[in-house]
């Protein structure tokens, strides 16, 4: 039997059904009481006493006929092929459409564009891929993502057909068998999604990469992100407080964080070249990031003076602080199926403004060179580590949390006179160039291994475009 708080009751019920055991017995405890009283045995005692008999009953009371033979699940096909609304005028019909969709939890709370067959056909003109092509499943309900469903949601988001191949590539990444979309879409931790477009398609479709690139006013940035939001909401079937338990909501909830590299001003090759793609390709990189205030600012900008070395120092300081804080969890298996999942070592997505990247280039660094330099600078003297940190890192080697190909680095480092990395590998630093002049440098981070799958950072090539010169590849 399963114990859950009242706040999570819908979520627990939904998860039981999603995992094939709809009649799993659950005992609810009051959220109001549990979170307040759980801090000690004495304070939580009255709450346990109040539900003790219910727990015992759940363990020993024979299953009812209904519990023993839960009805077979049925494919939840679309309730109807669609919906028809009628009204006296177009504004009234549009209002009614928005009401019906939001009442059905098919919307995100902002007014949407009606997904009529004509409009969806227009959206599909942006890709040569077939409408019935299946990309994969979206959590938590494992809804099937097809090109057509993504196009419907893209229409609702207000996107244009030339954006569709980018949106498709994001969903392709999120539905990859190895990508953890569950944590970012459903976790109480208010985690969030970062999408960065690199390569020539970004400028061609009008993505903003200059001053204000993470803000409002940019139809491509904003509606690509919104189409991803609506697609995940409708295909994966999430809803706030029901099975998307983000306590504060997810900041920038309607569009996530969606922008492009500034190819015009960047002194480097696009980010995706470091991930095995060609410079001329157009790609999306999709990554989960910590929620709420987990943006780390390294400055730049126009108020204070800055130097490339000074910003590097701030970056190193932050990486050491956040990395070392996680050392104590490196020596655990993690919270999921894969070793080190959801705890310990981090990935860092670091956004550099073009002038800063140019300075680093003058210093002789490309992205790979900067990765190696920062990795070196963030290593900590072994002799400075406390016994608990040393033990945790040693356990991480023994458990295999530190992967085989990095074992020697850490084994060598964990000795008197050694320097111990705060990151598993230099490749866990991801440098993007975005923003204008002046700009600022900042980063997001997230678990190197997420809780529910192998990775939450993936780069996919954009394909199948029909309306742009870039992204046409099959």
């Amino acid at each position: 039997m399963f114990i859950n708080c009242t706040t999570f009751d819908d979520d627990a019920k939904s998860a039981s059904a999603d995992n094939g055991m709809p009649t799993l017995r659950r005992v609810k405890i009051s959220s109001e009481d549990f979170y307040k009283l759980r801090g000690s045995v004495d304070t939580v005692r009255p709450l346990v006493e109040s539900v003790f008999d219910d727990i015992i009953d759940a363990l020993v009371k024979p299953l009812t006929a209904e519990e023993s033979s839960p009805p077979e699940g049925k494919d939840e096909k679309e309730e109807t092929a669609g919906v028809t609304v009628t009204a006296e005028s177009y504004p009234a019909a549009a209002e009614e459409f928005n009401r019906v969709f939001l009442d059905n939890r098919w919307g995100d709370g902002l007014p949407m564009v009606p997904p009529t067959p004509e409009r969806v056909k227009w959206m599909l003109s942006g890709t040569k891929r077939k409408p019935n092509e299946v990309l994969g499943k979206i959590n938590p309900k494992q809804g099937t993502a097809t090109i057509e469903k993504i196009a419907i949601n893209a229409v609702m988001a207000g996107a244009k057909p030339e954006y569709l191949p980018v949106i498709i590539a994001v969903i392709e990444a999120m539905t990859d068998d190895e990508f953890d979309d569950l944590h970012v879409l459903a976790s109480a931790g208010s985690f969030n999604l970062l999408t960065i477009v690199s390569g020539p398609i970004a400028a061609e479709i009008g993505m903003e990469a200059n001053i204000g690139f993470m803000g409002h006013g940019w139809r491509a940035n904003n509606t690509i992100g919104r189409a991803v939001r609506l697609s995940t909401l409708n295909i994966g079937r999430t809803w706030p407080g029901k099975n998307d338990m983000a306590l504060t909501g997810r900041i920038s909830p309607h569009t996530f964080f969606t922008f492009s590299e500034n190819a015009d001003m960047s002194p480097w090759e696009p980010y995706h070249t470091g991930r095995g793609f060609k410079a001329g390709d157009s790609c999306v990189t999709v990554g989960s990031i910590h929620g709420e205030s987990q943006l780390n600012h390294f400055y730049g900008g126009m108020i204070g003076t800055w130097t490339a070395e000074g910003i590097l120092d701030r970056m190193v300081e932050d990486l050491v602080r956040t990395g070392r804080r996680g050392y104590f969890m490196w020596g655990t298996k993690g919270v999921g199926k894969y070793l080190g999942s959801g705890v310990g070592a981090l990935n860092h997505m670091i956004i550099l403004f073009p002038e800063l990247a140019a300075e680093y280039k003058k210093m002789g660094f490309d992205q790979k060179g900067l990765q190696d330099e920062v990795y070196k600078r963030t290593s900590i003297p072994y002799d400075d580590l406390n016994p608990a940190e040393r033990k945790s890192l040693q356990t991480a080697i023994e458990l295999g949390v530190i992967p085989t190909d990095r074992k020697e680095v850490f084994t060598t480092a964990l000795k008197t006179g050694g320097r111990v990395p705060v990151l598993i590998a230099p490749e866990d630093l991801h440098f993007f160039v975005a923003g204008g002049a002046p700009g600022c440098a900042f980063s997001f981070n997230y678990y190197r291994i997420p809780p529910y799958n192998k990775t939450a950072l993936m780069t996919r090539r954009i394909t199948g475009a029909t309306l742009t010169r870039a992204g046409k590849l099959e």
């Binding site: 094939g20 939580v44 020993v60 299953l63 077979e72 092929a81 006296e88 009529t116």
Partner: protein
């Protein structure tokens, strides 16, 4: 009442969800006396205190019952489940949420 003049046909944005095989919970134990009860904890704070009180109350009512704390991932790992199965007769899964 005015004649309705605008009609919008709208496509459904939701993805199809395929039915998955359904399982029933295992039959219950008839009584907890002498039984080995697993208490699963995913390490979220506070559930340990909850379980400590639960163990005390259990001992009072079923002095011959024993408890085993099972500590693991958010979703129980298959290898953990295989290892624990021979050690318990029934179990409680609690999360700190």
């Amino acid at each position: 009442m005015s004649e309705q003049t605008v009609k919008l046909e709208l496509l459904n944005p939701r993805g199809m969800v395929e039915a998955m095989p359904v399982s029933a919970p295992n039959p219950r134990v008839a009584d907890l006396a002498g039984k080995r009860i697993g208490l699963y904890w995913n390490s979220k704070p506070g559930l340990d205190n909850f379980y400590k009180v639960f163990e005390e109350l259990l001992k009072e009512r079923y002095p011959t019952a024993t408890t085993t704390w099972l500590r693991g991932a958010f979703l129980i790992r298959d290898d953990d489940a295989d290892a624990w199965l021979p050690q318990i007769d029934t179990f409680v899964y609690g999360v700190g949420d």
